[in-house]
């Protein structure tokens, strides 16, 4: 995939943009229709006024807060569940029962509990990021070579120390993979949460990129700005994923990543 000749790689996206421009400027009712040139103008304006960076920053801060909450709980619980069979057996059913419930389904409950502000969004992000992290932590702990732990045990190392010095480093690559996946769903769900909050609370809510998009849709009808938001959402998602992948390769060069 990566050896694609640069020229060929450009064909399809350029063609898409060109088609979009031609199609949009030949529509009968073209006042609201977004075109690439108008989108560029809107992007410039949104960045120059500082609206877009502000909204993105707000959303990112929420993602980081929710992710941190999820990571702390999922890491602690996952280590215990992976290491002690009894804990794993008894907590696993509860975790697995919640896993198929989409994070957004809890948004109405979160709004009831926390209102339409930041805490509700952070709650949804934490819920979404929790599952990839915990599932990968459990799996990572279980796939650590048991003879390493046994070797430490024969030398009289205490179980708690083994957990910290043998199991945790052994499971780290998989935990990191879980964190990367968790960050990805966290970013997706913050958009959903903010969109829904925007849809239900009007423009008087709490900001963030998702709500900004909804305001552009429902109040000021600026489709070009919506497209700008979509593109920046995609760019941030890409940056998060590639950044964490780079960090993972850099900090754990011994593992062979399976993508």
């Amino acid at each position: 995939m990566s050896r694609a000749p640069a020229l060929r790689a450009l064909i399809a996206p350029l063609l898409l943009v060109l088609l979009w421009q031609v199609w949009a400027s030949n529509l009968p009712a073209r006042r609201h229709v977004p075109t690439p040139t108008k989108v560029f103008a809107a992007a410039y304006e949104l960045i120059a006024t500082g609206e877009l960076p502000l909204a993105l920053g707000q959303s990112l801060l929420r993602v980081i807060a929710g992710f941190a909450v999820a990571a702390v709980i999922a890491l602690a619980l996952g280590l215990l569940m992976g290491y002690f069979r009894a804990v794993g057996r008894n907590v696993d059913p509860v975790v697995e029962s919640f896993r198929p419930i989409a994070p957004i389904a809890f948004l109405p409950l979160a709004i009831l509990w926390f209102g339409t502000g930041t805490p509700a969004a952070v709650f949804i992000v934490a819920y979404a990021a929790f599952f990839p992290i915990i599932v990968n932590t459990i799996h990572g702990v279980r796939s650590v070579d048991a003879s390493l732990a046994r070797a430490a045990l024969t030398m009289g190392v205490r179980r708690a120390t083994i957990l910290r010095t043998v199991i945790l480093p052994g499971a780290l690559p998989q935990i990191f993979t879980g964190a990367r996946l968790g960050m990805g769903v966290a970013w997706t769900s913050i958009i959903a949460a903010e969109l829904a909050v925007g849809a239900k609370a009007g423009s008087g809510g709490s900001g963030g990129i998702g709500q900004m998009m909804f305001v552009f849709y429902a109040y000021s009808v600026e489709l070009n700005s919506i497209v700008v938001c979509m593109i920046s959402v995609g760019l941030i998602a890409l940056a998060i994923d590639r950044g964490l992948l780079w960090l993972q390769r850099r900090s754990m060069p011994w593992i062979e990543d399976k993508r």
Binding site: P13, N90, D92, S97, A105, L107, P108, I111, A196, V221
Partner: protein
């Protein structure tokens, strides 16, 4: 090939029996763990003593039964499931051939891959405002969003599965003069099937997840709509009953697709790792 298939099928059915015995023990631990969780939930709800904020599990159960009996839950669920089915089939019909073609044809891959990589990071949910404007509130919006969410798992997994087929399979067929179309149908597709089926499970999961968001914002019916509707009425126990049924249905869909995986590709690593 056939012998191999039969052998693995036999091994599979032996492990089904083993699993049935383990299943009874598993059900007991599951029941015990969930009972403990429900008890905790009940105690917290008694302590909070506000059924709008947190109704107890018994109340939610009651609402669930009541809504199933009155048929409204079934109605919403059928609407959502139909949307999922339409978008899932459409995503598979486009995503699998696209992924296979990308995996087998290098120049085609070079051209299409950038497009996939540009669109993929924009999550389906981020399309909701624009799609709302184009499609309006109704059936088309959730179907489009779910289709978009399900498309990429199909494409990426079909691509990876075709890429992972050892080249000597196709080479061997080619030396024996098998035409290209038959190589695709009889060599590449069967060998890539396990990976494609994994993609199908991921796609159904992604579609189901985007379903809730799409319906919550832009549909007048369906489970996602029902959740938000009962919040606005402050009928929290009914709302949670819908949330519970979203979970149960999501789990069931995954189980069904896993069963399909067992039947169609009993040799696949995803099936074997469960045993």
């Amino acid at each position: 090939m056939l012998e191999w298939y039969r052998y693995h099928k036999k091994m599979g059915s032996a492990s089904v029996r083993r699993r049935a015995v383990g299943g009874i023990l598993g059900a007991a631990t599951y029941a015990r763990a969930m009972l403990f969780f429900l008890l905790l939930w009940h105690l917290v709800s008694v302590w909070i003593a506000n059924p709008v904020l947190l109704p107890g599990p018994l109340r939610v159960m009651e609402s669930l039964f009541q809504m199933v009996a009155s048929g409204e839950l079934v109605e919403h669920a059928l609407v959502s499931l139909r949307r999922l089915a339409v978008s899932f089939v459409a995503a598979g019909a486009i995503g699998i051939p696209l992924g296979v073609a990308m995996g087998m044809n290098r120049p085609f891959d070079d051209i299409v891959d950038p497009l996939v990589e540009v669109l993929r990071p924009i999550s389906g949910i981020a399309w909701i405002p624009l799609a709302l404007f184009i499609l309006g509130v109704g059936d088309a919006l959730p179907i489009f969003i779910m289709f978009y969410g399900a498309l990429f798992p199909f494409v990426l997994n079909s691509y990876a599965a075709v890429r992972a087929v050892p080249p000597r399979y196709a080479d061997a067929a080619r030396t024996m003069g098998v035409p290209r179309r038959r190589i695709i149908a009889n060599v590449m597709l069967p060998a890539a099937l396990p990976g494609i089926l994994v993609g199908a499970r991921l796609a159904a999961g992604a579609g189901w997840m985007s379903m809730v968001a799409a319906e919550l914002i832009g549909a007048p019916s369906g489970l996602g709509f029902a959740v938000e509707w009962y919040r606005e009425l402050l009928m929290t126990s009914k709302m949670l009953a819908v949330v519970v049924s979203i979970g149960i249905l999501g789990y069931t869909i995954d189980r069904v697709l896993r069963a399909v995986q067992h039947r169609m590709a009993p040799w696949s690593p995803a099936v074997r790792s469960e045993q």
